[in-house]
């Protein structure tokens, strides 16, 4: 389980996270929703130690990632994978090499085993072997996300963080990516945190939905419960009302 306790973070004096408390249960998909710029990605980056908080804790099975350094932090990071908003594929490597990268860096497997695993992931993401020879700048947005998901999955991590996995994709491709997340989660039962604002599609994959607003979690419950949450801010966001966006 990941526990976020009283997390605070400011940039240039402006509080982005203002006392976040959140529990991310093991083996479940937790979705964090909220309007653009509210700090969802900032929260996600704290979970893997890419940002250090001003105050507060992030406990991963009891270990506070905000206090860890050196080898202990590296070991903890090996349990994670992240799917970044733009995919963050390495420009200088082709699709095959991108997916194989975590294995080549950390797993020390024979080349034949690496090839087998990469081909397996390509197939799982509905990508052809031919696509493996392409470079990231030759891929569509949807293909990039699928390659990034394959790279995230290749080491079978315990925890995967998804930073707006369908932003910039058309509705069919968004549904494909959500379907792939659901499919891979069913197969591997990893713990997932998905940062998104794609309502209502994101509810289809969520076990828990948390809403971030003004630096705090103002609601955290199941997807059905959140649809009927009494907080007017939550209701306004779910319905996409413009007054909320201007508030």
């Amino acid at each position: 389980m990941i526990q976020v306790i009283d997390l605070h973070k400011s940039f240039n004096g402006q509080a982005v996270l203002d006392g976040i408390n959140l529990e991310i249960p093991t083996g479940k998909i937790t979705v964090v929703i909220g309007k653009s710029g509210v700090g969802k990605s900032v929260l996600l980056k704290h979970l893997i130690g890419l940002l250090k908080p001003d105050r507060g804790q992030v406990l991963v099975d009891g270990l506070d990632i905000t206090k860890l350094q050196g080898r202990k932090l590296q070991d903890l990071k090996k349990r994670f994978a992240v799917l970044f908003q733009g995919g963050a594929l390495f420009d200088s490597l082709n699709v095959f090499e991108n997916i194989a990268f975590p294995l080549r860096e950390k797993a020390r497997l024979p080349e034949g085993e690496i090839v087998r695993r990469v081909h397996e992931r390509l197939e799982q993401m509905n990508l052809s072997l031919e696509a493996g020879k392409k470079f990231p700048d030759e891929l569509s947005g949807g293909m990039k996300k699928r390659v990034a998901l394959a790279r995230a999955m290749i080491q079978e991590p315990e925890i995967i963080l998804f930073d707006e996995p369908v932003t910039g994709l058309d509705p069919p491709m968004s549904n494909t990516v959500f379907h792939l997340i659901k499919k891979t989660h069913a197969a591997s039962n990893y713990t997932a945190l998905v940062v998104a604002h794609d309502i209502p599609e994101v509810f289809s994959i969520a076990d828990v939905v948390a809403m971030l607003h003004h630096g705090r979690i103002i609601a955290c419950c199941g997807p059905e419960e959140i649809k009927h949450h009494p907080d007017p801010v939550v209701q306004s966001f779910i319905r996409g009302e413009p007054d909320f966006l201007e508030a």
Binding site: L50, V82, F84, A88, D91, F101
Partner: protein
């Protein structure tokens, strides 16, 4: 007046802070060269990017620099009846000063800007963060090989520059203007001492490290999207050139 002093203080403090950060970045980058995994393949790739791909521009610059030195030197020395010293004048100018400095400036313009753009794009597209999340140290994977490549490639390019420049001087002085080939080379052999060559090597090592350090640092700390990459690239070229010339003065005064 108080506002001016405050502004001055802020500028100086920022400068000191930035200088300290760059030095820590350098120490981190170099220290990681001695920590496994050692990444020799990445170092070779960077030597190719920074060194091999700069060879053509270095050859052209060196050839024309040597030719200009030959021409200028010939007409200056002829006034004193010392055309025979042309080889020594060309060689000393190139080995002590022009070879290391012009090589560094050309590498900075070609490879330094490319390094900043590459690392800067990796920063804004979260590729550096991706490395970090895979428990791969981004400084060790991206920056360390570039620093080592700068240390290896720039002295080699400088040596090429010196040789080609001397041949350029020979082409103009001996082939076109009729200076005796024997006096061109014998003057050179008599005048160039090991200290000149050592000084040139030390300069090129310092310049190579400086250029790639500035380029990597600026790229690594790029902010604000494509505009930030453009700004960082610009800063790299300007700052590298100024630092190369400042280092040149300091090292020249040391080796004199």
């Amino acid at each position: 007046m108080v506002a001016f002093i405050q502004l001055l203080g802020r500028v100086v403090l920022n400068w000191v802070r930035e200088t300290g950060r760059i030095q820590l970045f350098l120490l981190q980058g170099l220290a990681l060269a001695f920590v496994p995994p050692f990444r020799p393949r990445r170092v070779l790739q960077e030597i190719n990017q920074i060194g091999v791909k700069s060879t053509l521009i270095i050859l052209l610059t060196a050839l024309f620099t040597g030719m200009v030195l030959g021409l200028q030197g010939y007409y200056t020395l002829r006034k004193y009846g010392s055309e025979g010293a042309l080889g020594a004048a060309v060689a000393l100018s190139l080995i002590r000063e022009m070879g290391p400095v012009l090589t560094a400036l050309m590498v900075s313009a070609r490879a330094g800007s490319a390094v900043t753009a590459e690392v800067g794009i990796m920063r804004i597209t979260e590729q550096l963060d991706a490395l970090d999340t895979m428990a791969v140290n981004p400084v060790q994977y991206v920056v360390m090989p570039k620093l080592l490549a700068g240390l290896i490639a720039v002295p080699l390019l400088t040596a090429i520059f010196d040789v080609v420049g001397i041949l350029g001087g020979y082409l103009v002085g001996v082939v076109l203007l009729g200076v005796s080939s024997g006096s061109y080379f014998s003057g050179m052999v008599q005048s160039v001492v090991p200290l000149d060559i050592n000084g040139g090597i030390v300069k090129s090592l310092v310049f190579g490290l400086t250029i790639i350090l500035v380029a990597s640092y600026k790229g690594y700390h790029t902010e604000h999207g494509a505009e930030g990459v453009s700004r960082a690239t610009n800063q790299t070229v300007v700052l590298s050139a100024v630092l190369v010339l400042a280092w040149d003065y300091l090292l020249t005064s040391f080796f004199m």
